[in-house]
């Protein structure tokens, strides 16, 4: 039972293999590049976060509402945390998307898992950004002297 497959003679490439500037090929390339650029920046942001919260002063024992209010009184730390939130969430989401593509074989399962992932990501990024921008040192229960 041999089937003979004609040699490909035509110069035409099936459109589904074409990689135009707006196609998935270029998206995946940008995602690949983003993982590397964000990784380098995240090292600085996360190491700085861990040093300031766990290594200096009283470390973990020193964290409280007042500690957070002290940090977010400075635009530097607000910006630091905002950049860390966005980059870590986008980097992590893209990484988990790759993992879903690798292990979820059924099309519907994949679509569902990615849908849940993207909803969670948007929710966390919006929530975290609002928390930084609308932070109020005098919320309910605050014992800070200025309140």
């Amino acid at each position: 039972m041999s089937v003979s497959i004609p040699a490909p003679r035509s110069q035409r490439i099936d459109p589904k293999y074409k990689r135009g500037p707006k196609s998935r090929g270029s998206f995946e390339m940008l995602a690949w590049l983003f993982m590397r650029l964000s990784g380098v920046v995240l090292i600085v942001l996360i190491f700085g976060h861990l040093i300031s919260n766990l290594m200096v002063g009283e470390g973990i024992s020193g964290i409280s509402f007042g500690f957070v209010a002290g940090k977010w009184a400075s635009p530097l730390w607000q910006f630091w945390d905002l950049a860390m939130l966005w980059l870590a969430m986008l980097h992590g989401t893209n990484g988990v998307r790759t993992i879903i593509n690798d292990y979820a074989e059924k099309h519907a399962t994949r679509a569902w898992l990615k849908g849940i992932l993207y909803v969670a990501t948007i929710f966390i990024i919006v929530l975290g950004s609002l928390v930084i921008f609308t932070f109020d040192p005098c919320v309910a229960g605050s014992q800070l002297p200025q309140c």
Binding site: G39, F65, G128
Partner: protein, 126 residues
């Protein structure tokens, strides 16, 4: 994947274990981050409620968990840097095995420094 283990580049070698480690630590950090942003959001609701949540992070058992989390971050970060070097540095592929040793040595040193400081705060009289 090839069914025969001989002759494959990856399976069972350092390249595969570091890849598994990178993947597992990436997912662990991601899950932690989801929970972490949720509990930090309590600062917007009630200062006392935030302090109550944070005090659970200040117990010895949680300190062990935090130490594990930081171990995962340090591995993912240093190994990530190795992956970046392998991709962008001309000599990267040639020295990838040496780079992996570098990652492990750096990881042990930085982790030891972290663990000594963090655990002595968490278990000490502070």
């Amino acid at each position: 994947m090839s069914k025969t283990s001989s002759g494959t580049l990856y399976r069972g070698h350092e390249g595969m274990w570091s890849w598994v480690g990178h993947r597992v630590t990436g997912v662990v950090i991601f899950l932690y981050l989801l929970v972490h942003v949720l509990d930090t959001a309590m600062v917007r609701v009630d200062a006392g409620a935030y302090d109550a949540i944070i005090s659970t992070y200040q117990t010895p058992w949680m300190a062990l968990g935090e130490t594990g989390l930081v171990a995962a971050i340090l591995f993912h970060a240093f190994n990530g840097l190795r992956l970046i070097l392998v991709d962008f540095w001309k000599q990267g592929t040639k020295y990838q095995r040496q780079l992996l040793w570098g990652v492990l040595i750096l990881w042990v040193i930085v982790f030891a420094g972290f663990a000594i400081r963090h655990l002595s705060i968490a278990f000490g009289s502070h």
